[in-house]
Symmetry: C2
Subunit: 384 residues, 2 copies
């Protein structure tokens, strides 16, 4: 296991898959496809396992590592996908083991060319669903048979898949609508489908492109924000305002540093999966950057500074004829961050990145202990 496998972000797991395809080296990818009871992670969680035992990402609390490695080695040898079920409900396990109490189904696959379309979609910042047979009594459809359904586009198969059986178009037609929805939501679930000669169970695994963060500002308090954001797998662009330099050394954890006028903020490639954070500490530049950000599809625009300062910004915008819509008010977060009560720059950075993760998952950031109901809002009930 790679020493810091458990600090691996979801983005990094996909980067590993991409590298495996580019290098035509063979990794195995283990994906949780179904959970009954409680488990450590939700369906869709992935782990890359190399034949030498190196792994990236974690799908259980460490316990299943050896059986997963064995299964991965078999998959790498045979080139065929398999589904392994781990039953963690025994009294012994509950008592002395994992703190999980569920049955999890794990799909283990080689990084063959059936992944390429997903990698391409992510590169183009499009979502897609990997649709894969995980059970089958139809002799023409083995476990691992796959189709990739894009968020948009036709429902016919991409014929680039040569290293794996592709699902027949009749099956694709049955699940196409669900697959598109799952792609957009990034959700994962199983579905049974009748074929002409049998029954199959498919996992529909919606995969979104990476989330991005564009930070407008060049002061040193941007640094810890960039560091935390990169650590949780956001792709980070720092945009320094007028007079700023595109200084990679200042922001070593950033993927990109641009120097541009705040009115050009949208040139940083802001789309509907890009969070924007405005913290230049310069009133006029912040106003121009805010105006530019409002013209993008950014779902979140964090603005550093006190409420009163935002009121002044808003009033200046109104004087220029820019009225904020209801949706604009919803996506502007100011004062920015979760209420952690600290004024130290590194802790403000923590509170801002935590807020971004919360918003990206449609959560409020409050303490779980204060909130009733299950922690995860999807079908399966999870452990944590």
């Amino acid at each position: 296991m790679a020493a810091d496998s458990w600090s691996t972000t979801t983005s990094e797991v996909y980067r590993q898959i991409e590298q495996a395809l580019a290098a035509t080296s063979q990794f195995a990818v283990a994906t949780i496809v179904d959970v009954e009871g409680t488990a450590y992670r939700r369906p869709g969680a992935k782990m890359v396992i190399e034949s030498d035992g190196t792994s990236h990402g974690g799908i259980t609390a460490g316990c299943l590592y050896e059986p997963l490695q064995e299964a991965a080695n078999e998959v790498l040898e045979s080139g065929s996908s398999t589904v392994v079920t781990y039953d963690l409900t025994s009294d012994d396990t509950w008592g002395l083991g994992l703190g999980c109490n569920g049955v999890i189904d794990v799909l283990i696959e080689p990084t063959d060319d059936s992944w390429q379309q997903m990698v391409d979609a992510r590169t183009n910042r499009k979502a897609c669903s990997l649709v894969t047979a995980i059970e089958s009594n139809d002799p023409s459809i083995p476990v691992g048979a796959r189709a990739v359904i894009s968020e948009q586009g036709s429902g016919t198969n991409d014929r680039r898949i040569r290293e794996r059986t592709v699902l027949p178009d009749s099956v694709i037609a049955d699940i196409e609508t669900e697959a598109r929805t799952y792609a957009t939501e990034g959700s994962t679930d199983c579905i049974s489908v009748s074929t002409e000669t049998g029954e199959i169970v498919l996992v529909i695994d919606g995969i979104e492109p990476s989330q991005k963060l564009v930070v407008f500002g060049g002061q040193p308090d941007v640094r810890p924000v960039v560091r935390f954001a990169a650590q949780v797998g956001l792709e980070v662009t720092v945009v320094t305002g007028r007079g700023g330099r595109a200084d990679d050394e200042m922001f070593p954890a950033a993927d990109r540093v641009l120097a541009t006028h705040p009115t050009n903020l949208s040139n940083a490639g802001i789309d509907e999966r890009t969070f924007v954070l405005i913290m230049s500490h310069n009133f006029v530049d912040d106003r121009l950057a805010l105006e530019a950000a409002l013209g993008t599809e950014a779902p979140y625009i964090g603005l550093m500074g006190p409420r009163k300062r935002f009121e002044q910004l808003q009033s200046d915008l109104e004087n220029e004829g820019v009225e904020l819509s209801k949706r604009d008010r919803e996506r502007i977060a100011t004062p920015v961050g979760l209420n952690l009560g600290s004024d130290a720059p590194v802790e403000i950075a923590l509170s801002v990145v935590s807020e971004i993760i919360a918003v990206s998952n449609d959560r409020n950031g409050g303490r779980l202990v204060d909130q009733a109901g299950p922690i995860h809002d999807r079908k399966s009930v999870m452990s944590q």
Copy 2:
């Protein structure tokens, strides 16, 4: 400015002061003592400035760096403390500058022997107040005259201070009660005192020892927790349960790694400023660790796992005659963490460390944008 000065934690600032004393090298320490209007940081925020321009910590949004450096150099040359006032309320500053709109008073001092008692207190995990004259028309009491008041102990001066004027015992008697309270709360404020021959203004700067985190567990998902906790300045001890190894390589960001039976958890040095996180994923070990943690003064006991698992733990404890008090229920956080909605280990780690910072500041972690009123609950109204 040190490249990553703004990621410097409060603990690191004190460590720098400690090192300056040990090495008898001279740094200057800049402390915000008073704020009118809005400013970037609260009174008590500190920055260490070396004569070569290296600095640790940030007290403004980057803008005052040059005047602070100049003032620090004068202090280092003269060996005398000074107070500098920065007025950031001009229209020009508001318009084009900082996004702050206040007047801040900064005390700049050399790292002389008047800091030793504070360093010793922190080493012994005791709080104290640095009491320092910041204005004076009493000729016997220059700006910088100091006394150090411990959380406990007598109100007489520690006569070890030789490099600075000590405040007279009559002045100490006047502010002793406040100084003890401020020490315990870690708060900072100014107070006017009449002396026999004049009027002085003192800053009372309460300084707490570092906050600690003890994590019980040895699985790889402990790693990102340790990393984030260290990055925000918590002193981290990892306690691996039975069968675990004290493996420093596994947890490079930890200050200490111990292998011990969970019933010995309290040997990890848990006091009233130590947060405990239990995440062994082993039901029996977690129960034993929880029981041990409940016997300590820990203000927070985070327990990884679903609500149902805690109910089972609680029922097992009750069967052994251990009833949870109201205070116990308040300090146990389970499910642990803030509601960020993610199941990736690195994001769970972020949510747990964010919760610890929120709890340490008596906050709920919810989004600031959803909460009315000023962000900071102290006297001064701050920017962020």
